[in-house]
């Protein structure tokens, strides 16, 4: 098994900072050819990566507010936010909350109107697919909204006025 594949269990920002030293430990500890690990080590990386993702993510209510209403999380979660919006599965994550949050409501109402399930099963994938496409196309716009460029001195390189006698 390739170690680099299982290392993807860790958040992107964590990998950028720590992957080299972790790979060095794997290489030192392994009898396999470089870059390859056994199943036990792969499981250990998967577990460690998931635990790290869980530890570094914002609280659930912050994530929900961000997903559902687009409210920007606090600056201390910027690393997570950047990973989220740059991640390959960002459009899927953006689209997934709708059917996931709606399903319990549908399940409740379907106790009176069972046909609602049928409608949900037909409509939800269509809404999901549309939302995936919308999120993928609007990713750069959303990135610019969440991470606006810092203000620059757009007046140009004009310093303060100096008196003629100073030169």
């Amino acid at each position: 098994m390739r170690a680099s594949f299982w290392l993807r269990a860790y958040p992107r920002r964590w990998r950028e900072q720590r992957a080299d030293e972790l790979m060095a430990v794997l290489a030192d500890a392994s009898d396999h050819e470089p870059g390859r690990i056994d199943a036990r080590t792969a499981f250990d990386l998967l577990r460690g990566g998931c635990a790290t993702r869980w530890r570094l993510r914002p609280p659930l209510h912050v994530v929900l507010r961000y997903r559902v209403s687009g409210r920007r999380p606090h600056e201390r979660f910027d690393g997570w936010l950047r990973d989220d919006i740059d991640g390959r599965l960002y459009p899927v994550r953006e689209a997934a909350w709708f059917p996931v949050l709606l399903a319990p409501f549908v399940a409740l109402v379907a106790t009176w109107w069972p046909w609602l399930w049928t409608n949900f099963v037909i409509v939800a994938p269509v809404v999901f697919a549309a939302q995936v496409l919308t999120s993928a196309r609007g990713r750069s716009r959303e990135r610019a909204r969440l991470f606006p460029p810092p203000p620059t001195n757009d007046a140009g390189p004009w310093g303060p006025y100096r008196g003629l006698e100073a030169s």
Partner: protein
């Protein structure tokens, strides 16, 4: 921030208390300290190191590249040393209590 100290965390801190060590050095030291019982995987080790650094018990102390492999060294902070000393005292007291309880039991095979 306080850290719930598992046996593995305790052993890692003990390994770092001896001297600054890099990741694989910690794995080897823990194996020695535990008489071969605890073999840390890389995922487990870095989870523990991350939590120790977050809690202020350990810090990165430098990096070297050996044979193209990056080795980042970690050392225990004063706060970490204090926490390790306190945990050792707690374990010692617990072991004393356990010996007292076991010593008070009647011997097996007795009347």
């Amino acid at each position: 921030m306080t850290l719930r100290m598992s046996e593995q965390s305790y052993l890692v801190m003990l390994a770092l208390a001896e001297e600054p060590r890099h990741g694989y050095g910690v794995v080897q030291a823990v194996l020695t300290l535990s008489d071969g019982d605890v073999k840390l995987g890389a995922g487990t080790l870095y989870g523990i190191l991350d939590r120790l650094v977050e809690a202020g018990y350990a810090e990165a102390s430098g990096e070297v590249v050996v044979d193209g492999r990056l080795r980042r060294y970690y050392r225990l902070t004063d706060e970490g040393l204090g926490a390790l000393t306190a945990e050792t005292a707690r374990l010692r007291a617990l072991a004393t209590q356990a010996q007292r309880v076991l010593g008070a039991r009647p011997a097996f095979g007795g009347a």
